[in-house]
């Protein structure tokens, strides 16, 4: 088990969003957390990436409590792409990706050939090498998202947490980003945990799905096990039909109507 949440209680201030949740992430898998808005999936991901301190329970990274490991050491094992990240104005793609080397650098070793190699490799992998000197604000949404993923890649971790990496992207760019995730997983056996909204893409690109509702895990397993018509009713309050994706064979959700609006 690479990453584990044991009885975590999560919230902001007095508002508890997740009250006692258990979840284990196996090494070498792509796990996608799904669930309706406000169910606590991003909150859970932030806690797994030690961006949010649990108010109870614990998060374990490779069996050790993540809050007991120096944050810099965590950053060498676990890379995280937060939701809608912001960068300083005018920053170039190369500058952004180079920042990913931060946990590996010290004041006397600020830009080693390792750093240079890791940044070049990350830019290559995301196909951004030609855009390296371009300011981030001049890129398209898809390119910008790939630049952020490159930064997490340059960090050189084999565990990646991605919070809604496809938000604000059109369908072609969503598929582009997810193909990259699949590539990262297949090429280097990276463990990936991400939050996605699109159930059909989640089913196609994940080994395991975790369905959440109101701060609790309702179901987890392979896409075939999790994405059922009953589960969609329970978790999303949606009447839907599940058919096989004609391309990938994974479950495909065809929505009929929300439960709150019965047939006329």
């Amino acid at each position: 088990m690479r990453l584990q949440a044991a009885g975590v209680k999560l919230g902001y201030g007095d508002r508890l969003i997740v009250d006692g949740l258990d979840l284990g992430i196996e090494a070498g898998t792509v796990t996608t957390i799904i669930g309706p808005n406000g169910c606590g999936k991003s909150t859970l991901l932030r806690a797994l990436g030690r961006l949010l301190k649990p108010q109870g329970g614990e998060v374990l990274l490779d069996g050790k409590r993540i809050d007991r490991i120096p944050t810099r050491e965590v950053a060498k094992i676990l890379g995280m792409l937060p939701q809608a990240p912001t960068a300083p104005e005018g920053l170039t793609v190369a500058d952004l990706v180079a920042r990913g080397r931060h946990p590996h650098q010290t004041w006397y070793r600020q830009w080693s050939s390792d750093d240079e190699g890791a940044v070049a490799a990350a830019l290559d992998m995301t196909g951004l090498a030609d855009l390296a000197e371009r300011p981030l604000d001049e890129l398209s949404g898809g390119q910008r998202q790939r630049a952020w993923i490159s930064m997490a890649l340059a960090q050189g971790t084999d565990l990646l947490l991605l919070d809604e990496p496809t938000t604000f992207l059109d369908l072609a760019h969503q598929v582009e980003v997810l193909e990259l995730v699949r590539h990262l997983h297949e090429e280097a056996g990276r463990t990936v945990v991400m939050v996605l909204h699109d159930l059909n893409l989640a089913a196609r690109y994940a080994d395991r799905l975790v369905a959440m509702r109101a701060g609790r895990v309702i179901a987890s397993g392979t896409p075939h096990e999790v994405l059922t018509e009953d589960l969609l009713r329970e978790v999303f309050e949606l009447d839907a039909k599940i058919i096989a994706d004609p391309v990938a064979g994974t479950p495909l959700v065809v929505p009929i109507r929300p439960l709150s609006h019965p047939a006329p």
């Binding site: 944050t71 950053a75 300083p88 006397y108 070793r109 830009w111 997490a152």
Partner: protein, 347 residues
């Protein structure tokens, strides 16, 4: 911008040739401006007199140079550098080009305590009590500066520090301090308040080694520390989640850098009074000159020294033989620059 890798054994740095050239040019310019400044005084000198007077102990000008003119010139350069470095740090952390030590409550806090001290003690700080005038006011200013910063920091802290909130709280606190200062000036004795006015405009008049030493010490300790924190400063410009994801202990890193900025500004203000706009403008000038993404620390410090020394030269020559406080000149030069910055950011 060109960046060259510099690698020797296990050491690896990045060198920005443009930044290095500009910084070195700035140092030369600063030395020249200081020398020009040191010509001025009761006994006018030529540049040659200044140079021989500085380096030749047998020269007749040596005593005047070493006891009066060099310490004054050094105070100007060091105070300018400290203020600019402080500004560069604060602007990076607040992610805002309009942030400066004034925003952190340092300069306004110092003004309040100094004016309060002068008004409360009456003529104690006059010409009679030399020791108190040289030690009392800087000590009061240092105390006020640190207190002012503590108030702003305390009010802005809410489960972490947000740059935007810091700036807003800072502006509010500065307004309160400024009004308290004006109230004190209206209730105080006219002779006391006019003396206080010179100080709160920022003046280098009559500055000696006792003003050079603390500022130099602060720079010797804090410059290496802030340079060690440069990488954290680069990371701190990102959103909070990204900062943590990169393995930076965000709140301690931010607090340490702010503490360094506060100390630099407080020591500088204690030596020469709140010299306006140096901390605000120098980092932005250095940023544009070096074309880097963030105010460069060392280059900002050199620009600050040049700016303050140049302003002092203008303050002493334009209405000669009357000397203006240097802060008036930096304010007159800085205000249009501030408007220019706001104008540009509107677009």
């Amino acid at each position: 911008m060109t960046i060259l890798p510099l690698r020797v054994g296990g050491l690896a740095w990045q060198v920005r040739p443009r930044g290095v050239v500009l910084t070195l040019t700035g140092v030369v310019l600063l030395a020249l401006l200081m020398a020009l400044n040191m010509r001025i005084g009761d006994l006018p000198m030529t540049l040659a007199d200044v140079v021989t007077g500085t380096f030749d102990a047998a020269s007749p000008a040596h005593f005047v140079i070493m006891e009066l003119r060099l310490p004054r010139a050094l105070t100007g350069a060091l105070v300018g550098a400290a203020l600019a470095l402080s500004g560069a740090i604060i602007q990076s952390i607040a992610r805002n080009p309009l942030a400066s030590p004034e925003i952190l409550g340092v300069t306004t806090g110092a003004s309040v305590t100094v004016v309060a001290g002068v008004v409360a003690s009456g003529s104690a700080y006059g010409g009679v009590s030399g020791l108190l005038s040289s030690l009392g006011i800087p000590a009061l200013a240092l105390l006020g500066g640190l207190l002012g910063a503590a108030v702003v920091y305390g009010l802005a802290w809410r489960r972490g520090l947000d740059g935007y909130r810091l700036v807003l709280v800072g502006i509010g606190v500065a307004a309160v301090f400024t009004n308290v200062k004006f109230w004190l000036l209206t209730v105080g004795d006219v002779n006391d308040t006019s003396r206080a006015m010179v100080w709160i405009s920022g003046s280098l008049n009559g500055r000696g080694w006792e003003h050079v030493t603390p500022t130099a010490l602060a720079l010797v300790v804090l410059v290496p520390l802030t340079l060690l924190g440069t990488r954290s400063l680069d990371a701190l410009r990102f959103g909070d989640d990204t900062v943590t994801a990169l393995g930076v202990r965000m709140n301690p890193a931010r607090a340490l850098m702010i503490l360094a900025a506060v100390l630099l500004a407080a020591v500088a203000t204690a030596s020469a009074g709140p010299i306006a706009f140096v901390a605000l403008a120098s980092p932005q000038i250095a940023l544009r000159l070096t074309r880097s993404g963030r105010p460069p620390l060392l280059c900002s410090a050199v620009v600050g020294g040049v700016l303050t020394t140049a302003a002092d030269l203008i303050a002493r020559t334009v209405f000669s033989p009357i000397e203006l406080p240097v802060g008036i000149v930096t304010a007159v030069l800085g205000a249009p620059y501030l408007i220019h910055l706001i104008w540009r950011s509107r677009k």
